[in-house]
């Protein structure tokens, strides 16, 4: 699995993805690790098929007993179907996930991990001195959905917003926005159901100071490409299946 450090300060952000051993018929995903001196948070830790390479990659950055937090942006299997495995591996961990999905996510098995339900208006995750904001992003695409913002690293992890599907050897950052647009268009038009929800989210995010916009699929956006993405998404008509 490819590991790319995308922020280094008093804490780190690492993007994990582009797993070479991934079965061809499952969707590629990006997982994110936030590492503080004694704790480790996995953002959208991934599907069951990805558990072994994901755990192996995390062990380059933290021991198992310091993996103290998981975050699931929403309920999809590519986000969190590995939960039952993390549940057996971690002795002292919490799952921060939408309150609305608790009864559903427990189907993946969640007996030793403590479920921290996130209310609809969001919250925070405190990892030692780092405070991450949980930003509501409902209906983009899931009805219960959150993104994570790190004001210090200026990274916004956006789940399925900003997603695109790439070849396994694609770079991790967008380097030509115009060319990248066509890889995102159908996904966003088809999967995002609500133009209203999209507008509300964009209004909220435009007020945030973001250096990197980090989706769960495809390349990340940095610098001016963040604004380009927001402008593009703002102009896009979504919810095309009805």
């Amino acid at each position: 699995m490819k590991m790319t450090k995308i922020y280094e300060g008093s804490h780190q952000w690492i993007m994990l993805g582009r797993d070479e051993g991934k079965p061809g018929n499952i969707i590629d995903t990006n997982q994110y690790v936030v590492r503080t001196p004694n704790r480790c948070l996995l953002l959208d830790p991934g599907g069951a098929e990805l558990f072994a390479p994901m755990m192996a990659a995390v062990l380059h950055h933290a021991p198992v007993d310091q993996i103290t937090d998981l975050f699931a942006s929403h309920q999809d299997p590519d986000v969190i179907s590995s939960l039952g495995l993390w549940d057996q591996a971690l002795t002292n961990a919490k799952l921060h996930a939408p309150a609305i999905w608790e009864g559903f996510l427990r189907h993946y098995s969640c007996e030793s991990i403590e479920y921290e339900p996130i209310p609809d208006n969001g919250g925070t995750i405190k990892l030692e001195a780092v405070e991450l904001q949980i930003i509501p992003a409902h209906y983009l695409h899931s009805p219960g959905n959150f993104h994570v913002y790190d004001p210090q690293a200026k990274i916004l992890m956006t789940g399925d917003v900003g997603a695109a599907f790439e070849a396994p050897d694609a770079p991790v950052f967008v380097d030509n926005f115009a060319a990248h647009v066509e890889k995102m268009r159908h996904w966003h038009q088809r999967m995002m159901p609500s133009n209203q929800a999209k507008r509300v989210w964009i209004e909220r995010v435009r007020n945030m100071d973001i250096d990197i916009l980090a989706p769960q699929h495809g390349r990340m956006f940095k610098g001016d490409d963040v604004k380009r993405f927001l402008d593009w998404f703002d102009a896009l008509q979504v919810g095309i299946a009805v």
């Binding site: 755990m55 192996a56 380059h60 950055h61 198992v64 495995l85 057996q88 591996a89």
Partner: protein, 202 residues
């Protein structure tokens, strides 16, 4: 899923389907016993020897139904245990794979704990499964014992029926149906025992 786990699922699931057939047949024996009792009552002295047999058959049918009900409940527990074992085995395999993939990682050693814990959980499940299989085999043996007893009673019934004059045919039909039912029960349960017995010592 390994072949072993798959065949365990199938073995345990097949018990439920075999036993539902046994339940139907046991209820038929009960009905046959009730019929026989009515006929024996009408036959009066001619079928005097038949009357206590009908009570015995009825009792046997009730006990068989109770045994099978308990076995069904136990089979469900066993099925859940099989699912649990499958999940624990899957976890152990994935943890081992992660540990292998992380051989050169800084914190590779920290995976030893989860791997060991997963191995122990998996082995615990396997041991529990074998214990439960043994118990279930014992319960199935009890049903077979009842079925054998029913066949003996059916044989005695034929003898008594031969003394019942014009009621001979009716009572022999009852004896025949009890024998056939008991034979079916015996065979169904025997199949369950054969399917399960390979897991007792595997």
């Amino acid at each position: 899923m390994t072949n072993q786990t798959k065949s365990q699922f199938i073995a345990v699931a097949s018990i439920t389907s075999e036993l539902s057939a046994v339940m139907v047949v046991a209820k038929e024996i009960s009905l046959a016993a009730a019929n026989a009792k009515a006929i024996a009552f009408r036959a009066g002295d001619k079928a005097k020897g038949f009357q206590p047999i009908t009570d015995f058959i009825n009792e046997l049918a009730k006990e068989t139904i109770e045994l099978v009900t308990n076995i069904n409940i136990y089979a469900l527990v066993l099925y859940r245990l099989t699912v649990d074992e499958f999940q624990k085995t899957a976890a152990f395999n994935k943890f081992e794979l992660a540990a292998k993939m992380a051989e050169d990682a800084v914190y590779a050693k920290s995976m030893e704990g989860p791997v060991d814990h997963a191995r122990l959980s998996m082995q615990d499940c396997q041991r529990q499964f074998k214990r439960d299989v043994s118990q279930l085999l014992g319960q199935l043996e009890a049903v077979m014992h009842h079925a054998r007893a029913a066949r003996v009673i059916a044989a005695n019934s034929r003898i008594e029926a031969s003394q019942a004059g014009e009621y001979l045919q009716s009572l022999q039909a009852v004896a025949e149906s009890v024998d056939k039912a008991a034979h079916t029960i015996h065979d169904n349960v025997q199949r369950c025992r054969i399917a399960l017995s390979i897991y007792r010592n595997s």
